[in-house]
């Protein structure tokens, strides 16, 4: 304590000490609040700046036009269609893969070195910079497997990127299922796969859903890996529609086509010297943030709804 000195304890002015002590606490608390306000102010100024620059540009035309050399005519149609299609591929790949990996790690893996290696791997991959994933995809998918600079490749790389998010969320959800559920299932004669399939995964659904939404909201904003695999920044066309006029009515040509995504479109516009394009970039940024906020809100809603349904 601060009062150790030649002063005998009895001679200390305790009331004054207590007052000073409380003042210091208050000072720090005020400091903490100031930091909080600074952080909030940054967030607010970011949003306000974006809104100020971009809202005027936001219009139905903006959402439904292709990019153009003339800033006033440029729009994000190809960008948000591209984002949606890429997110579809990402979800289709990452969710089953992530759930399966998490189920194995949580319910099947024996306590041996191999399981440890796998776990360390997942943790490590969560910390690898996203651009490295881009390099992986470039070497392995674009050239190695010859998949080219396509929607499929983008979906693959983003799926790998958010895989750790889904695995961790699913594991947490499984871990929070009380042991008595497993014992009840076992008591009825279920084997491990039946227990997982019929009882555990249904119970873990809210957590898995939340994790998926959070992962996808991250993937939407990822630019670096998608640039690296070669997504072009000026795409003035839409991929071929998956619904065709003849049997089997559904085709997958769109997977192998070039594309762009929202964050790349925004990046492209920022990089242009003309100020008018910056307004477009801001508008695209608003759409991007709106999508991210929507998804995070959805995740919170799912979490809340699940907690209420559980009794």
């Amino acid at each position: 304590m601060t009062v150790l000195s030649a002063t005998p304890l009895a001679a200390i002015d305790y009331p004054a000490l207590a007052r000073r002590s409380r003042r210091r606490d208050l000072a720090f608390a005020v400091g903490g609040i100031i930091v909080m306000l600074v952080a909030m102010a940054m967030l607010a100024s970011l949003v306000i700046d974006l809104a100020a620059d971009g809202l005027p540009r936001l219009s139905w035309d903006f959402l439904t036009s292709f990019p153009s050399r003339r800033p006033a005519r440029a729009g994000i149609l190809s960008a948000w269609v591209g984002t949606s299609l890429v997110m579809l591929v990402t979800a289709v790949i990452a969710v089953p893969l992530g759930i399966a990996a998490a189920v194995y790690l949580e319910e099947y893996a024996p306590r041996n070195w191999l399981s440890d290696v796998i776990e360390i791997n997942v943790t490590n991959l969560a910390g690898v910079p996203s651009i490295i994933y881009g390099l992986l995809a470039l070497g392995l998918f674009v050239y190695g497997l010859g998949l080219g600079e396509t929607i499929l490749t983008a979906g693959l790389v983003l799926a790998l990127l958010i895989l750790p998010v889904i695995i961790v969320a699913t594991r947490e959800a499984l871990r929070s299922i009380p042991q008595e559920v497993r014992e009840a299932a076992a008591g009825l004669g279920a084997d491990r796969w039946q227990t997982v399939r019929m009882f555990l995964i249904p119970a873990a659904r809210p957590g898995i859903l939340t994790g998926t939404i959070v992962g996808l909201s991250r993937a939407i904003g990822e630019t670096a890996p998608v640039i690296t695999i070669g997504a072009l920044t000026f795409i003035a066309f839409l991929p071929q529609s998956p619904i065709g006029p003849e049997f089997p009515f559904l085709n997958f040509h769109w997977l192998m086509e070039p594309f762009t995504v929202l964050p790349i479109q925004m990046f492209n516009w920022i990089s242009r010297p003309q100020v008018a394009f910056h307004a477009n970039a801001a508008a695209a940024g608003i759409v991007l943030i709106a999508m991210t906020l929507l998804m995070n809100g959805l995740a919170i809603f799912v979490r809340y709804h699940a907690r209420r349904a559980l009794r």
């Binding site: 306590r111 008595e180 559920v181 497993r182 014992e183 009840a184 299932a185 076992a186 008591g187 009825l188 004669g189 279920a190 084997d191 039946q194 019929m198 009882f199 249904p202 119970a203 559980l310 009794r311």
Partner: protein, 296 residues
């Protein structure tokens, strides 16, 4: 003991069983004691015989050389102070310990009429659990509807046809004395039921699979007295079709409900025999001390 017979003090089939009833049973008075539910003339058929059962949790020797008989279509109660191995023992019957690493069985639990030792290494624990059902201490219905809870065991056995499921679910709910209370809300969440109803639901869930032995691990310790009484009555009715083994920390419950009792102490069976004899004329000093409440 239970059922419609009036007790020695004139109480009828009341919901609350006064502890006085037990004391009066303990006093030797053959003229007023109700006759046992099982026919005493024939030698009771044995459903399972435990011989020299040992069990280790890792290095801890939890069950020591247990010998015990489980008669067919009777209720066998396992009593004893807490922590003495009753739950550990009953979980050997359906190989629950196999779910966790580091456990080891020794000795035999022989299931009749085949005469197979179900804790033997060559027996598949899954098959044991397909034949022997369990109800746990705290009601643990699945987060599903009432119907799906009861149907769970059937689906696990590959029964999928709606007609077959409907029939068996209804039968099980009748057996568990729950049908009338839930027949209009089979699709409701199991969590909407009260604690006592949830436990009866768990019993129905186990019964739907037509087990040869029904194990109950302190089924009423988490319930209020009214729900407890309902379940005790239920067990009395069930025993005509199912062999029942019940762990209970409540001696009076054992005395009320069972035909056979085994007294556990520190991982051993101290005494085993007809319930009446255990409570009125215990052979072992430890049994007497436990029954008269000297320790517990």
């Amino acid at each position: 003991m239970f059922g419609g017979e009036p007790g020695p003090n004139g109480e009828g089939d009341d919901v609350l069983h006064s502890p006085l009833k037990v004391k009066s049973v303990c006093l030797p008075d053959p003229a007023t004691v109700a006759p046992p539910a099982v026919e005493p003339a024939a030698e009771p058929v044995v459903r399972a015989r435990v011989r020299g059962l040992d069990f280790w949790y890792g290095d801890f020797h939890a069950l020591k050389h247990i010998d015990l008989t489980v008669p067919e279509r009777a209720i066998t109660a396992l009593i004893g102070p807490s922590g003495c191995g009753k739950s550990t023992f009953i979980r050997c019957f359906n190989r629950m310990h196999d779910l966790y690493p580091g456990n080891r069985y020794g000795g035999e639990v022989v299931l009749y009429p085949e005469g197979v030792n179900i804790v033997g290494a060559e027996v598949d624990p899954l098959i044991v659990r397909l034949r022997i059902g369990m109800v746990f201490q705290k009601p643990n219905p699945f987060a599903k509807s009432v119907y799906e809870n009861v149907a769970a065991g059937l689906r696990i056995r590959g029964i999928r046809r709606r007609g077959a499921l409907d029939e068996r679910v209804e039968r099980a709910l009748h057996q568990a004395a729950l049908w009338d209370e839930v027949k209009d809300r089979l699709g409701a969440s199991a969590y909407d039921l009260s604690g006592g109803q949830q436990q009866r639901l768990c019993i129905a869930r186990a019964l739907a699979t037509e087990p040869e032995i029904l194990l109950l691990d302190e089924p009423t310790s988490a319930l209020d007295p009214i729900a407890t009484a309902k379940i005790e009555d239920l067990l009395g009715a069930l025993v005509e079709d199912v062999t029942i083994v019940v762990v209970t920390h409540n001696m009076q419950q054992a005395a009320r409900v069972s035909q056979r009792t085994a007294v556990f102490h520190l991982g051993e069976v101290v005494e085993e025999g007809d319930t009446e004899q255990i409570f009125t004329n215990p052979h072992d000093e430890r049994t007497e001390q436990y029954i008269t409440g000297r320790f517990g």
